[in-house]
Amino acid sequence: MNESAATVIHTKIITPPKGWLSINWREIWLYRELLYFLTWRDVKVRYKQTILGVLWAFIQPFMKLVVFSVIFGKLARIDSEGYPYPIFVYAGMLPWQFFSEALTRSSTSVVGSSNLITKVYFPRLIIPIAAVGGCLVDFLISFSILFGLMFYYGVAPTAATLIVIPLIFLTIVAALGAGTLLSAMNVSYRDFHYLVPFALQIWMFATPVIYPVRIFPPRWQWLISLNPMAGIVDAYRSAILGKPFAWGHLAISLAVAIAMLFWGLFYFRKTENRFADIV
């Protein structure tokens, strides 16, 4: 793709796909601008023709925070490990919201891009990645509410707060793994279109978003961590609120998230050759 290199001959050989197919990361890198534009389009289009525009990225999580705090914090009096419920729930809601949004969008992304898939060639993996990327922007915006809450409740950031950065990458891994898998499955079976939103609702209640992990008996907590988001959400709380990390649980969640990413990528790669024919 070197512009000035007229002397370089790009040779391409097309043959039927066979056997194990590795992911051509170099090619995805070459198409990074397309990834950027598709992400940018997602973000841009989301707030077009809205009066409040990008303000919605603040309003939505804020309203949710208020509702959760009133219902689960004030009325149901759910245990918040001694922290003010709003900041406790928001620290969990924030990564969950990103994960759930990214999963919803990426699972329908390939089917939603059928017009591109049947007309142009580019590494298909860019589509679910761009969908996750578009949600990342909203996620980072809603982070600012967290800073507001920390300030309001006088929770001072510590060195451990910096662990949020690798945690963000971990959340991306979890979202991308499930997202690529579901986006590819959705091409053949549109059932996932109906299944995903419903499954995510249940998944949220199976994840310690509105309640702490410690409501489970300690010897079963590792089992909860098989849900990658459980370990991740809990670790966000540790990083933000300064409570001790449950490293063991995080390791289990990390392993599951990485395994899921491999499975997702593998399945996607294996089926992507047929996308244009059946989407």
Partner: protein, 428 residues
Amino acid sequence: MTQDAVITVRNLSKLYRIGQRVARYHTIRDTITHGISRAATALLHPGRTLEKTEDNTIWALRDVGFDVQQAEVVGVIGRNGAGKSTLLKVLSEITYPTEGRVEIHGRVGSLLEVGTGFHPELTGRENIFLNGAILGMKRVEIRRKFDEIVAFAEVDKFIDTPVKRYSSGMYVRLAFAVAAHLEPEILLVDEVLAVGDAQFQKKCLGKMDDVARKQGRTVLFVSHNMAAVQSLCNRCILLHGGRVECQGPTDDVIARYQAMLPKQKADHVDLREHTGRRRNSSPLMQRVTLTDGKGQPVSVIPMGEGLNVEVSFIAKDRPLRPFLGVVIKNFIGASVFGIDNRMVPGFVLDAVTHGTVTCHFERLPLMPGSYTMDLYLGDEHISMDAIYDAVSFDVIPADVFGSGKLPHAGVGSVFWPATWSVRANAKP
């Protein structure tokens, strides 16, 4: 390197499951219920072979082989379903071959459609960047050509308006302009010229010609428009039923293509399984019959005689207020004229479920030669069914001017009477 082929295709085959193309997608439930219905069929009709349609496969391409040299402009022609689009999709890596091998030397740009990825909510400016990136252009490259693209599209004033507010003409112009500024070494083009108004089509053809001749790039051009193929391509490949029927100099291949068409020549044609049906049409049209002024079925008419085109149809879900569009094309596939009943004032059709629409040409002003007819059927304003080259007919010479002389074919496709006068001018 210049003598070497830039595209080498060998034994290329692509197998489609017909069910794959027709049933666009399935749900798990479909898979289950389908399984049940198949089992039931098997129980109730033990003799019947199961479900030809679902499990049938079709070779969209079969043992296709050809070479394209550097700076050649090669046309790919053939009827609908001949495999032209599949060939381009394989060459563009959109879909994979089932067998065979392709070798391409050079950066490939493919234009299977103009405006791929255009988003209605984004402005013209934003769409230029997005569409450019989708077609494989670098951001710096798009920025460099931006002004040129806007000028070519003639949309300067609306560049910051969302394209959903564009007229369809502006939309197509902008989309083509981006595509036209792609600079790959090898360009694969599919029918993109079938859009836009005549003037813009001409401009696009000019641009294509430029790309090929002046810039020395290799072009593979798929089209139904034989006039465009003839003017752009030095060599052609004719596909038929997924195979290469023949390849060679454009004129020879087009002649061969035309020779294949008249097989359809008959006073009536069954349209139910017509191969020229446009993809995604709902097959409403059943049969077309050509009759002369006296109502007799004909496939050959003398110049200047009347012609009726009778198309019978069956509506699927609800009655239609049928409109029928007829486009008559000459031997190279260029449209001579087209008309539909919506253009005629005061013509209100009744809603009909089963019926026949008849288009009556009082006098057909066609010169002698072979013609084909595209048919479009729809409900009031919605086009529902379209068949290219639905039926062919011949026009034979006749003494239309009553002079005892027969007009010569070769001056065009249409004759029109004129009156003449001569007067002597005074000497200057």
